[in-house]
């Protein structure tokens, strides 16, 4: 169980970092999404992994075992935020692509590009 979750986080993170380093708008967006999935799984496991247990304290249950509810609340917050941020990123990337006709994320040095633009 621990091995499965740990390697899932690792693989997702590695894929995310690789895609971000591609420096093209679409891979970067996918990479950031993968990273946010990785961090969600990671947060979920930060309270300890417990299978088949409720996240609430139930004193009528036979052994009163429960899984830590706080990481679940954190993950919920993180999911909502990363979803909103991804939507915003898609819009900004689309705007940049339509304005400049290139989906490269990296820019030339601010000085150089300014010179080019004004010398045209």
């Amino acid at each position: 169980m621990e091995l499965l979750v740990a390697s899932a986080v690792g693989v997702l993170t590695a894929g995310g970092v690789y895609l971000i380093l591609r420096l093209r708008a679409f891979p970067v967006i996918l990479g950031l999404s993968l990273l946010s999935y990785a961090v969600n799984v990671f947060l979920f496991s930060s309270g300890g992994l417990a299978v088949n247990l409720p996240p609430i304290l139930n004193k009528y249950a036979p052994d009163q075992a429960y899984t830590d509810p706080l990481p679940q609340a954190l993950v919920l917050t993180a999911i909502v935020i990363s979803f909103g941020m991804t939507a915003l990123l898609v819009m900004v990337a689309l705007g940049a692509y339509l304005e400049s006709d290139t989906d490269k994320v990296d820019m030339d040095a601010p000085d150089a590009s300014g010179d080019e633009e004004t010398s045209k």
Partner: protein, 571 residues
């Protein structure tokens, strides 16, 4: 509980949607509402400053949940100062944006501006580290909108980079929080301060990883080497009033470093062995160098100012990393100074660049009011470079005076003094090129391809914000004594972390009935609460109350310990 504590968050949070939904087609109304909100914020922040002026630490428990189970807002002298700084800066940049018409060049400037203020004030006030993440996201998502306000190819591409780097930073923040929670079982800053100290040095690997991850995230915000690279492109391409407001955003990072370092991972913690401080010191020195060389090498005005901001953050972080009371007081003084200096420079530069064809550092025909702009730019430049008579000189002087330990004096003095020299040279070169060489240049005959630049003189309202920023810098130099006394008080509070912990966790921390049952023999608040609320009245009752040792160990013991101690304090 004092409800004014949450006003700096609630006021902009209410005004922003109102402006966005009700006043979206009426720029005059939106401006008025934005001004009213910002003035209200200023009034509240002055009131908060007065309230904590005698050393009180005020705590606001959201929903009246006792800490560490609920989220708390905490105001001490440092937080109150930062909120006041934010509201003054917001008023200056808002005046500039309205007077120059920047706010009308795109949609929703004022709504985003208010959301930005909400996020910044929240980040300064919160006492919960996950809540800090949420406020970071609020201020970031507003800053994304402000950064690409009014559009343009370069600006949107720079904005895309800014969004990407900060999303990656947010992910790292979550990784850090997960690690921290896994190793300590809490996210309340005061509770963390207690818990991290209990970790023995040999078990500290995980919490050290969390500390370094967290410091890296804050370093991204504060633009400290090796994660400073996003700042010049962002600030240089952002609309000038937004860049001026962003001067406080780097300080959010510095504030977070200071707060977390002082309370949780400081030199007093056995598990850390002051590792973050050592790394920050190196980062600060390199950042000073990057800023200085950037100022010297810049070929356009806006990147030049942006690099000078990088340099000032380096100076600030170098002083913070030493983490002795006198160094932190000096750093806080310099923090206030560099915020206004950077804002003043961006605002003046905007007035100049709007009257030139672009912001390249080349000789172009002089603008109208060339002498006035030159004088203002000169004032901002000597403030940023740290020359007398403005407060930059005093700020750097006290920082140098504080950094006299044998291990750090060489690196710190050489970096800060040489950095200041290079900054002076860079600004002198830029100023003489823009304002002096220009007077020797003839204006070309305007053609259709190259129309004559705007020749309208700046109105008093357009000049007022940058002049007010200069006046504040002068006032900061004149009233250095009282300001430093206040900052010393803030520093004392930071170093006395037990006062912070006591204020948050023990004083009046009953909140709801959550901890009421702790005095009972069962010692289990969860079971008791159920009983009182009527869920347990069906015969099972108290006998079924789960024992503490059946709960996951750290949470249960935790509730026990705090409840017991809270009662002890009350007795």
């Amino acid at each position: 509980m004092n409800h004014w504590i949450i006003a700096p968050v609630v006021l902009p949070a209410l005004m922003a949607p109102l402006i966005a939904f009700v006043m979206r087609y009426d720029i005059v109304l939106a401006r008025a509402a934005s001004f009213v909100s910002t003035l209200g914020l200023l009034a509240v922040s002055i009131a908060l400053l007065v309230m904590v002026g005698d050393g009180d630490i005020l705590v606001y428990r959201l929903g009246d949940w006792p800490a560490p189970f609920g989220i708390v807002l905490v105001v001490d002298r440092l937080s109150a100062l930062m909120v006041l700084l934010t509201s003054i800066l917001a008023l200056l940049t808002l005046t500039h944006a309205a007077a120059t018409g920047w706010d009308a060049r795109g949609r929703h400037f004022h709504a985003l501006f208010q959301f930005q203020l909400m996020g910044i004030c929240g980040a300064f006030l919160t006492g919960d580290i996950f809540n800090l993440f949420v406020f970071f996201e609020v201020l970031l998502i507003a800053s994304y909108g402000l950064m690409i306000h009014s559009g343009g190819v370069q600006r949107i591409r720079a904005g895309l980079q800014y969004v990407v780097i900060n999303l990656a930073g947010s992910t790292l923040f979550l990784f850090a929080l997960g690690t921290l929670y896994a190793s300590t079982g809490t996210l309340n800053i005061a509770d963390l301060a207690v818990r991290v100290q209990e970790i023995p040095a040999e078990d500290a690997a995980l919490v050290r990883v969390a500390a370094i991850l967290l410091m890296t995230v804050f370093a991204v915000k504060a633009a400290v080497f090796p994660v400073q690279f996003w700042l010049p492109g962002t600030y240089a391409n952002a609309p000038a009033p937004v860049a001026a407001l962003f001067a406080i955003m780097t300080k959010v990072g510095a504030y977070a470093i200071l707060r977390v370092h002082a309370l949780v991972f400081g030199p007093h913690v056995e598990a850390m062995q002051d590792m973050p401080g050592d790394l920050l010191f190196i980062g600060g020195i390199v950042t000073v160098a990057i800023g200085a060389f950037g100022v010297l090498g810049a070929r356009r005005l806006m990147p030049l100012i942006a690099f000078s901001v990088v340099g000032s953050m380096g100076t600030l972080i170098t002083a913070l990393a030493a983490f002795r009371p006198e160094a932190v007081t000096a750093a806080l003084y310099y923090l206030v100074h560099s915020t206004f200096a950077a804002a003043a420079l961006f605002l003046v530069a905007d007035l100049v660049v709007a009257r030139r064809t672009d912001d390249r550092l080349t000789a172009q025909p002089p603008t109208v009011q060339n002498g006035l702009f030159a004088a203002l730019f000169f004032g901002g430049a000597i403030a940023m470079a740290g020359m007398p008579p403005l407060s930059g000189f005093l700020g750097k002087l006290v920082i140098l005076d504080a950094l006299r330990e044998p291990g750090e004096i060489w690196a710190a003095w050489v970096a800060i003094l040489a950095g200041s020299l290079l900054t002076i040279i860079g600004f002198a070169r830029a100023g003489s090129m823009i304002f002096w060489r220009s007077t020797a240049t003839e204006a070309p005959v305007p053609t259709e391809a190259a129309p004559a630049p705007d020749a309208t003189p700046a109105t008093p309202m357009q000049l007022a914000p940058s002049m007010a920023a200069m006046a504040l810098l002068a006032a900061l130099a004149v009233f250095a004594g009282p300001v430093t006394r206040y900052l010393q008080g803030a520093t004392d509070e930071l170093f006395d972390y037990t006062a912070y912990v006591t204020a948050v966790l023990y004083v009046d921390n009953e909140g709801k009935d959550l901890s009421k049952g702790h005095g009972d023999d069962h010692g289990d608040s969860y079971g008791e609460d159920h009983g009182e609320e009527g869920y347990g009245d069906d015969g099972h009752g108290e006998a079924d109350s789960p024992e503490a040792d059946e709960l996951p160990a750290h949470r249960a013991n935790d509730a026990e310990a705090h409840g017991a101690e809270a009662e002890h304090v009350e007795d």
